[in-house]
């Protein structure tokens, strides 16, 4: 018992000594390295990702009754005309759009994800927005707060957790299955080794939407790491393809 008390005292004393120093930045303390070029490896949900599904189909998406009129009224030409051709490239959908990611550190506390499909940019911020900051207008990629999280016990094992809100209403799939501006996207980024020295990036995505979903919509697209950006091929948003 005495030993435990002494140990506790030691922890408090040493902890106080160390906490006087500024904490390392998110970049410096990154427990996993997700930067680089990654390519979608579409081995699941192929029919919903690689081609545009039929109008009116929303299998596997727990759409609410409020979503059905919108699903059946999907009009890609009208979206295009209204300048909304990026509706299926928003943060709730973009990681499922086949393409390449380029992940870099924009600064010490912001991870940046560029996509060649739809030429979108996501900024994952590790520093909380000040409470007095001017509210930002909703956007396709919304506002993403990021943190490194421990996935397991005392040996380590970490993941990148990202929560995104303040998105413009968009589509979960190309054929107009909607999510609303009230949706929240929670993602976990994990790495796994592949044979031959390769690396797999797994993104577990949970979309919650009190308006157009009856239940969380969960997907987990994965990406293979590429050695460089030689296959990077930016293509603009399309409302039909």
């Amino acid at each position: 018992m005495k030993r435990r008390l002494a140990a506790a005292g030691l922890v408090i004393g040493l902890g106080a000594s160390i906490s006087a120093q500024p904490p390392p930045s998110a970049r410096d303390s990154a427990p996993i390295d997700v930067t680089g070029y990654w390519v979608s490896y579409v081995t699941e949900n192929w029919r919903y990702r690689m081609v545009t599904p039929a109008k009116g189909e929303y299998r596997r998406i727990p759409a609410s009754p409020a979503a059905l009129p919108l699903i059946n009224a999907w009009d890609p030409a009208a979206d295009e005309k209204a300048g909304n051709q990026c509706k299926s490239y928003g943060a709730a959908a973009i990681m499922n759009v086949p393409g390449r990611l380029h992940i870099t550190w924009q600064d010490a506390s912001t991870l940046r994800i560029d996509t060649d499909a739809g030429t979108q940019t996501r900024r994952l911020r590790f520093v909380a927005t000040p409470p007095n900051a001017k509210p930002q207008p909703a956007s396709w990629q919304g506002e993403s707060s990021a943190q490194w999280t421990k996935t397991a016990g005392n040996e380590g094992g970490s993941s990148l957790r990202v929560v995104t809100t303040n998105m413009r209403a968009g589509y979960l799939r190309k054929n107009g299955v909607p999510y609303s501006e009230k949706a929240t996207v929670t993602e976990h980024f994990d790495l796994a080794p592949l044979d031959g020295g390769g690396q797999l990036l797994l993104v577990n995505i949970v979309v919650d939407d009190p308006v157009y979903l009856n239940a969380p919509y969960v997907t987990s697209p994965h990406f293979k790491k590429e050695p460089d950006g030689s296959k990077w091929d930016p293509t603009p948003c399309s409302s039909t393809w």
Partner: protein
């Protein structure tokens, strides 16, 4: 025993702090999450691909793998000697059910010896040996469930399955997995969601690994899928021929293609169809299917509805 913190100096204090943290952690189990329990399927991802007989979307098959898949007739499972054969290890994630995981410990040391995931009627379950036992000889018995060892790695449970038996499948529609296949598994847990990643490699039937990631949610109620398989007469007499399709004669080869206006090389599992470049290739020729008229919104059998 108290330590003079001042005398240690800043560098010494840091070292002591690290050592102390290590000491306090010593003796606990290594990095892990609570793996055991009942994990219900979430059902919002399309990983089964078994609604129609010829659907090899998302696979990179060798020519031999494709030929064997096209030769498969699902009536084989009506043969009394094949009814309880099971679908092989991969069916744990491509099947429709949840996972019921438990731990086996050594009664003397209380250390984890293995984890098991319970079987279903048509799946033989999975035992993940965690005790560092060696993998058996390549000539050892091969089974539908194979031989699996595991370890905790970077916060995930990582496991590898070998010793799979000839006659296993990577798709329930007859896409084969050979006895040379290797399946690597990783189990990640984030809150009450566990995501299982299956990476299946097969030098005989796959050009590139088949990677499936499927999420499960911790169930507040125990799940139990352990229905025994009971074979019975299903119209096939002992000694009948094994149902199959001769090369080029699978009557269902075009069914899925026509139903959803899909490109043939994607449905038949060609490698290039797994990468984004393929979308650009087919963009000019792809004709979308007509609007969906029926069964347009089945969200999967196991999607949990929000409780209002």
């Amino acid at each position: 025993m108290l330590i003079d913190l001042v005398a240690l100096g800043e560098g010494g204090r840091r070292t002591a702090f690290v050592l102390l943290i290590l000491l306090l952690g010593a003796g606990r189990a290594s990095a892990q999450f609570e793996f055991t329990g009942s994990w219900g399927p979430i059902g919002t991802e399309d990983v089964q691909n078994d609604s129609l007989p010829v659907d090899y979307l998302g696979l990179a098959l060798t020519d031999e793998g494709r030929a064997r898949a096209l030769a498969y007739d699902e009536s084989q499972k009506s043969m009394i000697d094949r009814q309880c054969q099971g679908w092989g290890a991969a069916y744990g994630v491509i099947g429709p059910f949840g996972l019921v995981a438990s731990t086996q410990t050594d009664p003397a040391t209380n250390r984890v010896v293995s984890y098991t995931i319970d079987s279903w009627e048509d799946w033989n379950g999975l035992t993940i040996w965690m005790d560092g036992r060696p993998r058996p000889s390549q000539y050892a018995l091969h089974t539908q469930e194979g031989f699996t060892t595991g370890k905790w790695e970077g916060g995930a449970l990582a496991a590898r399955t070998t010793h799979l038996k000839v006659g296993g499948f990577i798709r329930k529609t007859g896409v084969p997995l050979s006895d040379q296949a290797i399946i690597d598994w990783r189990f990640y847990r984030h809150g009450d969601v566990m995501t299982v990643v299956m990476i299946a490699s097969d030098p005989l039937y796959l050009v590139e690994p088949e990677i499936i990631s499927k999420s499960f949610r911790l169930s507040p109620r125990p799940l139990d899928y352990r229905t025994p398989c009971v074979p019975g007469y299903e119209g096939r007499e002992p000694g009948d021929d094994v149902p199959h399709f001769a090369p080029g004669q699978n009557p269902f080869a075009d069914e899925f293609i026509q139903f959803y206006s899909l490109p043939k090389d994607a449905v038949l599992g060609y490698r290039e169809t797994l990468y984004p470049e393929y979308r650009k290739k087919i963009r000019a020729t792809y004709v979308p299917p007509p609007p969906c008229k029926e069964a347009c919104g089945q969200a999967g059998n196991f999607v949990r509805r929000r409780e209002n």
